[in-house]
Amino acid sequence: MENNIETEDTTKRLLCRFISENGEIAGESIDLPLNCTVHQLALICNAILQQTDQVPFKFFVNENEITSNLQETLKLTQINTEGVTDIVYQHQAVFKVRPVTRCTASMPGHAEAVISVSFSPDGKHLASGSGDTTVRFWDIDTQSPLYTCQGHKNWVLCIAWAPDSSKLVSGCKNGNIIIWDPETGKQLGKTLSGHKQWITSLSWEPYHQNPDCRLFASASKDTDIKIWDSVLCQCVLTIAGHMKSVTMIKWGGQGLIYSASQDRTVKVWRASDGILCRTLEGHGHWVNTLALNTDYILRIGAFDPVKDSNKGTNDKKKSQEFALQRFKGVSEPIGERLVSGSDDFTLFLWDPSKDKKPLARLTGHQQLVNDVKFSPDGRILASASFDKSIKLWDAKTGKFMHTLRGHVQAVYMVAFSADSRLMVSGSSDSTIKLWNLQTGKLEIDLPGHADEVYAVDWSTDGLKVVSGGKDKVLRLWQN
């Protein structure tokens, strides 16, 4: 009797087993002491999964994160300790992105507001499009201007890098598209004209489907979607079907093209022949933006942010396989998820490859939703709204997680760091703010811009953040 009491005091035990996010059981169920800490859990989990390198994990019991030790979390959840407790583990990024803290360079040059900025997928180039009709390439290492590309006749509205970083396409307000070579700053081929009104969005074919990076799609205000061949400089396919301006286009990894429009629908097209597969209806007003949970993977193509980015192989077949494998790693467990943000203040979560019914309707914003992004690991969803707040949602279920407040005016754009632990947001109140996603709190406030911030981007290797806005200056932020 005495002996029994003693053991209860010192080590209360619990029968547990580890389960992955997708429900795969790892190893046998084991007897764990209740005061087992997160660190110890990680060690055990690594041993069970037979990882050679130590991988960081997050653990959950009944969707409550274990922050210090098992006991504390169990108190909260009050589950039956008699049976086997399932501990869900989540892989975290092996590397950590350090938060950017200061402005290392403000690069003037544009004569008008900077409308779009973008790092190349390999993180070596930086391009910006502006209202002064030029596209500019910037040298990241010396933080100085590299090339000024003239060719457009009106505001350069959107730019997009090819997934192998060999080309940049830019679309202007007159409806012309130009392909640029980032190495020389010269125009490749001729100007692609065909759209009757301005270009709203551009998207490249994923690397794992075609490592040559030839095709890209463009969406326009004139309700058309066009697929272009960047080598022959001609239109391959014109897809018509929307009733109003197409606001956003995404070329998914499964051979589908997703397009959002002001006619309140999201349409899914087959990329190979442009046949309409599905029309996703549900929104009550313009659909402004789209995001895929594979966005980050599709963007970086075959580049690996963990390894040295210079170690790119020349073997296209190999890198294509690598890209495909990584894409499957993200998309296979739950499929390609799509989220759309709208003027009706809501977001919809879709599984566009299977169903035309939404998985979830995410409500809570009090103004229109301007930007939506998935985190690179596909677990978190961030939506920026004109109601001055950013909301975080669980990407799997659409459950609300946090509201990030701090901006005093409309939030225009958000960008995630590569390790999904941090996020930056650019706003109309002329500041950029850095948020910690684990705590859901403001990490650092980054003032500096003299006017509205229109575009922000976090480089794929996580080292730098770039922002541009109405004050015509491009700013680089670093640790």
Binding site: E112, A113, I115, S116, S130, G131, D132, T133, K153, N154, W155, L157, C158, W198, T200, S201, K221, S245, T247, Q262, W286, N288, T289, N370, D371, H407, V408, Q409, Y412, S427, D429, S430, T431, D445, P447, G448, H449, A450, D451, Y454, A455
Partner: protein, 259 residues
């Protein structure tokens, strides 16, 4: 009157005479000389009429030449509109708004010196006698230490009047104001904004402390409604404005925002 087109018919049948082209050329070449001869020889009213007609002719000619030239050089380049917007703002009517975003250090320095670049630099000084009316008191109305402010005043929220014995300055309720019509000079728009306080009445520091508002007075107004932000992303809520009218005559306060 000819009964039909016999001249044309003849021309079609037989053609023109052989020297037609040459004669025509010569006649045309002679035309300026003939015209000059007429212009030289005409006198009086006929000369006037002739010259007037000729002038109009020349104007028309020049216009035509210019129009032709413009047509040739039309497709050069259209001006690119200013104020570029990102795609997501193109279909929304974004109202243009001038930002405050002033340099805070500069502003602090200005504030310290108590000097502002004001729209009305020279203001007519208000004499004490003009602003303050003597109020006689006492049983036989012999005492004259009370003053009544005859101009518009701003009185803070939590102000309570003192007992009559100690109240030296009376600020009549009818002349108290809480709001002003403030014009933003860059936006060219006027807003109805609450007053926060009187910063400076140039006539006298005593008027400033009393909250007297006359033409040229610098007042602080609450502009949070305009949603202007500073460079660090904070909402500006208090900003100075100068009064541009005579509120005591007009019954309202008009002011210009100092940016």
């Amino acid at each position: 009157m000819p009964q039909n087109e016999y001249i044309e018919r003849h021309r079609k049948l037989h053609g023109r005479r052989l020297d037609y082209e040459e004669r025509k050329r010569k006649r045309e070449a002679r035309e300026p000389h003939k015209r000059a001869e007429t212009a030289r020889s005409l006198r009086g009213i006929k000369a006037k009429l002739f010259n007037k007609e000729r002038r109009n002719e020349k104007i028309q000619m020049k216009k035509k030449i210019k129009a032709h030239e413009e047509k040739k050089t039309k497709n050069v380049s259209e001006k690119v509109a200013e104020g570029a917007l990102p795609v997501y703002l193109l279909d929304r009517d974004v109202k243009s708004r001038a930002k405050v975003l002033s340099n805070m250090i500069k502003q602090k320095r200005k504030e310290k010196a108590g000097k502002w670049d004001v729209p009305i630099p020279k203001v007519r000084a208000q004499a004490d006698a003009e602003v303050l009316k003597i109020v006689k008191s006492g049983k036989t109305k012999r005492k004259a230490w009370k003053r009544m402010v005859t101009k518009v005043t701003f009185v803070g929220e939590g102000f309570t009047r003192k007992p009559p014995k100690f109240e030296r300055f009376i600020r009549p309720m009818a002349l108290r104001f809480k709001t002003a019509h403030v014009t933003h000079p860059e936006l060219k728009a006027t807003f109805h904004l609450p007053i926060i306080g009187v910063k400076k009445n140039p006539s006298s520091p005593m008027f400033t402390s009393l909250g007297v508002i006359t033409k040229g007075t610098v007042i602080e107004v609450n502009i949070s409604e305009l949603a202007l932000v500073t460079q660090t992303g904070k909402v500006v809520w208090g900003k100075y404005a100068q009064v541009t009218n005579n509120p005591e005559n007009d019954g309202c306060i008009n002011a210009v925002l100092l940016v």
